[in-house]
Amino acid sequence: MRKQVASEIRKLTTTRSIYAMLAGLIVIVGLGVVATTTDGQPGSLLAPLEHQVFLHVSLTIAPLFGLLLGLRSFTDEFRYGSIVPTLLASPVRRRVLGAKLVATAGGGVALSFAAMAISIAVGVPILVIKGFDVAWSTGAMAEIVGRLVVATVLWTAIGVGLGLAVKHQVAAIAGTLVWLLAAEGILSGLVPDVAKYFPGAAGFATVGINSAELLTPALGAMLLGAYALVAVTTGAVLMQRRDIA
């Protein structure tokens, strides 16, 4: 599978779209941090860095971008027909799937670090300019970054699996976004008891946002991992039988 991973990493780095995604992430996170630090509620800005609300921007946005990266991994290939040369070079399909999981996981790690770095690069100077003392616990910060990486990587795997299962790019991305941004919220109102087990809620639990109503980060990560396993297995089973015509 080593060769397939090399090929997938090369795929990721040889079109502009990954760089466009990184640029988009940086802009959105940067603006989000500015908005949350200048919203006229200085109370929370007194907290140590690991409790700053502006970190929630990257904790929300990086997993979402990881999900998009994963969703595009197979759907790009189906959309452009490049799945044909890909499978001619690597006819054992589960190897292609494995390589895509590894390569997009790497992309997810990069997105997580980029989001965190830009949050701190924008947020800390704003705190300093506003005259707040910046204090932090290295351990707590490392834990936050670790949770973000785990969540983002699991979301890329969910994206890879869903993209493989659905095949159609627009359908896969639109369907996922509709679920996360609308359907899950509506259903949560109808069945509040199970709401914390929904994928989006599991994702928030993993990164430790709104932890009062949600599962603990560890349980959230396990549940998110289970969703990833289901998505990838579904994709793999469908892929194994699918005719590439």
Binding site: T14, T15, L88, S90, A245
Partner: protein
Amino acid sequence: MGANSTTDRPSVERAPLGSPAISVRGVTKRFGSVTAVRDLSLEVHPGVVTGFLGPNGAGKSTTLRIVLGLVAPTEGSATVLGLPYRSLREPTETVGAVLETQSFNPLRSGRNHLRVLASASGIPQQRVDEVLELVGLEAAARRNAGTYSLGMRQRLGLGAALLGEPRILILDEPANGLDPQGIRWLRDFLRGFAAKGNAVLVSSHVLTEMAQLADEAIVISRGRLVRQAPIHELTKDSRELVVVTPEAGRLAAALHERGIAVQTNAEGELHVTGADAARVGMIAFETGVPVLGLVEKESSLEDAFLELTEEDAR
């Protein structure tokens, strides 16, 4: 593989002498209620160019995709050098295939497209530049493939197929979008490739190209094998004689009696199939009919093909 891989690379899967490069046995493929291929068996041998002929929708592309492991047959099996494609250890070094023109990310350069595929097969990156030169794409190599003309896309596809220096080439309608020079180049290339003992399977519905390119012909229609034969036999069988005689009726009757097919055209000339000039001349002599003209018309592959596939439709 060493850096200098063009000549002395370790042999990949090597078939025993005389065994087919590609073998399709009893393959049937149904897509829902549509049967694309019915109980099809065929063999492709090394050293010759085999034309895979049939009208659009005959099942050519499906068959090629079954050979390449992209489509699973409903029944039967297809092998390359004795193994299913998915079991080949070095698929790109065994088979190179060009299936369609648009099979790359348009935002990736042609060179990077080939580098991605080279990585997947463990082929050294310098081979990419060799291939780009071979197919004449060096100048456009760093441009996004989405900006390529149809002919350039075909060349990129061919470049991808040649990356692994395969011993078998499979091309689905490769002449689409190529200009006359490109078609001539492709013809020379494929003939040279086959002459080195490699196998070539080329599908086409444009038969005139095939007459100059292929040695063997496999004709399918509506998913069934119609004929597998050397291409010259295909044209010979439908050879036609045009006979000019003032007593067309008598000669036609005499030929008809002997089971030879005759048709009369608007000018009163006879079109005779299924007999050569000597036989027809002799029959005319025996019948006492003067023959003013006797022209042997070798029908084009197009005619032979139409005849074969029409027969099937009946």
